[in-house]
């Protein structure tokens, strides 16, 4: 009898555990706050679920920033920070499963795609009608840069920024070379760097086409020059494929020639940005095209660990290349999943650019945890929790790339300001990539062909002409379909 009872109880227990498990699987957290009142009126959200990539880590006190936001606004901020390498995979899967966060940080490659798919809330009216103090100090050109056919689906977190070519100024000085101004001088400089001896890498970069993210030519502007390895609209309004134009042939020729001469890192095709930085930090690299702003100081500080004399300078764009490219700003989008989008727009997005406590929180973090008030109107960044040798750079928004006119109480490193100045004096703005169903369907295969052709031409496995023939043969049908769609 006892055995029988034991069996009964065990069976019942297992069944109950399963039922509880099923219930737990089915449960879901509530998002958003009180009911939406449309675009004109709004109520304060109770909680906001946000997914962000380029913010500080939880180990360095990100939760403290969220808690402080709740203290100041009364809104609970639930933050998700996926692994950087898997960020867009996670975002895509969240959309596919119908469970995206209320607010998501989204780069310019994915922003128009999701806008086109109808996944994002139209915030045009919210921006136009907002009475938030932020509106008076935000540089509207950055907001306009995110409009697609006049509609705003995302708000810039910071300026789009772009890359600038950093050169080892100490090497130039020691060799008596001036900063190059033309392509020939640039190549001569790389040759001089190569002549410094074994182990020197004159120029490194992470890939040839920016890993399929727009703008494709951002990293190697000196070689691409007037070539545009993407679709672009001519002055008469017609769309053309820049990759199949003569300018691209010339760009590939320049890349191939420099590579064959050993002026470009032999591992450029397999390099990741982290491997490039490692090489730079090891004091091996003479020239590296990377993000303007904070990275100038970071690269220099890291390199002085191995080479105390290391000094980096941002190179003004060479004459033939004409310009560096400022990307479309990274957007903070509100998804259609959000129950109270207007509330989120006002109490999160506008608050974070308010030029006051919100801006401070979203830029520098929490008082006495990430920075201290000096009492004279200035503040000083505190060291990171995890690494006391480094000062906190940002919580969410990079201070040097702020889109608001405000008096940041933490002064920027002069090297950061200088590199930004060089970049901004030499930049042009990229526009939001055009998307459509036809483009989405064909682009992944097309980018594979572009990558194959460019890499094989670079390595000399095929000639430039053979490369272009291969491109026309393998990519022809994708190009035709996309052009037909764009020009229809």
């Amino acid at each position: 009898m006892k055995k029988n009872l034991l069996i009964r109880l065990t069976s019942l227990g297992l069944a109950v555990v399963t039922a509880m498990g099923m219930t737990a699987c089915n449960g879901g957290g509530s998002t958003g706050g009180a009911g939406s009142a449309g675009n004109e009126e709004y109520s304060k959200p109770e909680s906001i679920k946000m997914t962000f990539d380029t913010c500080m880590t939880f180990e360095n006190g990100l939760q403290d920033v969220c808690d402080e936001y709740q203290n100041k606004t009364g809104i609970k901020l639930e933050l998700e920070k996926p692994d950087h390498n898997k960020y867009y995979e996670k975002i895509t899967l969240a959309f596919a499963s119908g469970t995206p966060s209320d607010v998501i940080e989204m780069g310019s490659t994915y922003y128009p795609e999701n806008a086109n798919n109808g996944a994002l809330w139209d915030m045009t009216n919210a921006w136009e009608t907002t009475e938030a103090p932020a509106k008076a100090i935000i540089d509207a050109s950055y907001v306009d840069a995110l409009k697609i056919d006049g509609v705003l689906y995302g708000f810039p977190t910071v300026a789009g920024n772009g890359t600038v070519t950093y050169v080892r100024q100490d090497w130039l000085d020691s060799m008596g070379i001036k900063m190059p101004e033309t392509y020939d001088e640039f190549i001569e400089m790389l040759r001089a760097f190569k002549g410094r001896g074994s182990g020197t890498i004159p120029l490194t970069a992470a890939g040839l086409l920016n890993n399929g993210e727009t703008p494709y030519d951002i990293y190697l502007r000196e070689f691409y020059q007037d070539a545009i390895p993407d679709f672009y609209q001519k002055e008469d309004g017609t769309w053309v494929d820049g990759f199949s134009e003569p300018a691209m042939e010339q760009a590939l020729t320049r890349l191939h020639d420099a590579f064959a001469e050993g002026l470009i890192d032999g591992e450029i095709v397999t390099n990741k940005t982290s491997t490039c930085r490692d090489k730079v930090n090891a004091g091996l690299v003479g020239c590296f095209n990377y993000w303007a702003g904070m990275w100038c100081a970071k690269l220099e500080d890291a390199t002085t660990g191995t080479d105390p004399n290391a000094k980096f300078a941002a190179m003004p764009i060479i004459k033939e290349a004409g310009h560096y490219t400022e990307r479309v700003p990274t957007a903070l989008v509100i998804t259609n999943n959000c129950a109270n989008p207007r509330g989120v727009f006002e109490d999160l997005i506008m608050y974070s650019h308010d030029g006051g406590e919100g801006q401070m929180l979203f830029t520098h973090g929490v008082l006495d945890k990430h920075y201290v008030d000096n009492g004279d109107g200035t503040c000083t960044a505190l060291p990171y929790y995890e690494d006391p040798t480094k000062l906190c750079e940002k919580s969410f928004y990079a201070p040097e790339l702020s889109i608001s006119e405000w008096n940041d109480p933490i002064a920027l490193d002069p090297r950061v300001e200088e590199s930004l100045k060089v970049f901004r004096d030499n930049r042009t703005f990229a526009s939001v990539p055009v998307v459509s169903d036809v483009i989405s369907e064909n682009l992944s295969n097309l980018n594979v062909v572009k990558g194959e052709v460019a890499a094989n031409v670079l390595h000399g496995n095929i000639s430039v002409q053979e490369g272009m023939e291969k491109y026309n043969k393998d990519a022809g049908k994708y190009v035709e379909a996309i052009l037909a769609d764009l020009n229809s």
């Binding site: 297992l14 032999g266 259609n336 460019a454 094989n456």
Partner: protein
């Protein structure tokens, strides 16, 4: 009088009675059945998307999949050069990997089994198992460094080449660095070697377990008959292991088309023609291109091929050895 030809017919009680009798066993089985249905069979309903156009906009707009596509995704599949290339690469990489895996793991298991010193045996086993626990990202980083041809594309400056190239150059086996992971002729061999380095040790576990089950009497008898180590291995160990080899082979055959991570972290634009596999192609289409209908069609095609491979191998095993596992 009953005779021995009279059969005693035992009538089974009705199903309902039997189920009631074993009701607690059925109750205990409920969690397993529910989980099985929930996580293995319910997701299979997603197969229907293979016959639809199903992209992100169909989800966000709430309109759902467009089933007017019918078999359109499959027609597109067979005319897409990237799919046919990736299918060919998958078969080649998986076939040779399966062959190498079977041979290497059996040989290594036999060698480990021959080790007499218990401590030494455990040490070797531990060392061989360790790579299995490294993630593919880490393994790829290690081998990218080891196999690097250096930063100088001309090959003249060898100061930045990886360990393998440095050794080969020192030994005079090559006269300039070889970029093993960016040349089409060397990528596949490098991939096979990396696969074996990572997984051979782990694969020996099941064979070592089978080896420990072979009766020592057989070896004793063979020794008395004058059989040496090699003959004992050939006539006793291998035949005794054959069932296990067969089972592992057929089970691995079911996974033959599931190559993804190891390729994804090691391939690049220069070797795409020999390294792009079905799973990486599906990833580009499904995850990066948001074309879920098409990606499901590729997945379904892959599953059907795997099913044929397993049932085919099982059929061949039954014909040759008289039994299979399915």
């Amino acid at each position: 009088m009953a005779t021995n030809t009279d059969a005693i017919i035992v009538k089974k009680p009705p199903l309902g009675i039997r189920m009631y009798k074993y009701r607690y066993f059925y109750l205990m089985a409920i969690p397993v059945v529910v989980l099985l249905l929930l996580f293995f069979y319910w997701p299979m309903l997603g197969i229907r998307f293979a016959f639809s156009t199903y992209k992100l906009k169909h989800i966000t707009s709430g309109q759902g999949p467009d089933y007017s596509t019918g078999i359109g995704n499959f027609q597109k599949l067979f005319t897409d050069r990237f799919f046919t290339d990736s299918f060919r690469n998958t078969v080649i990489l998986s076939f040779w990997n399966l062959v190498f895996a079977t041979v290497f793991t059996v040989v290594v298991a036999l060698l480990i089994n021959e080790l007499q010193h218990e401590w030494g045996k455990k040490f070797v086993q531990t060392v061989l198992y360790l790579p299995h626990f490294l993630s593919w990202v880490v393994v790829a980083s290690i081998f990218t460094l080891l196999l690097s041809a250096g930063a100088d594309a001309t090959g003249a400056d060898t100061s930045t080449v990886g360990f393998i190239n440095a050794v080969f150059l020192k030994l005079g086996l090559i006269d300039k660095p070889v970029s093993f992971l960016t040349e089409t002729s060397t990528w596949r061999p490098a991939w096979y070697i990396i696969q074996r380095w990572k997984e051979t040790g782990w694969g020996t576990i099941i064979y070592l377990a089978a080896l420990s089950g072979i009766s020592p009497d057989l070896y004793e008898a063979a020794e008395i008959d004058g059989a040496g180590r090699m003959k004992q291995t050939w006539y006793i160990t291998l035949p005794s292991l054959m069932n296990t080899i067969l089972i592992v082979f057929i089970l691995n055959l079911a996974k033959i088309l599931n190559v993804f991570e190891s390729v994804f972290v090691l391939y690049n634009d220069l070797v795409l023609s020999v390294s792009d596999v079905i799973q990486t192609y599906t990833y580009r289409k499904g995850i990066q291109g948001n074309d879920y209908g098409y990606a499901t069609a590729i997945g379904l095609f892959k599953s059907v091929i795997s099913l044929f491979l397993v049932t085919g191998a099982d059929y061949v095993a039954k014909r040759i050895r008289g039994y299979g596992i399915v």
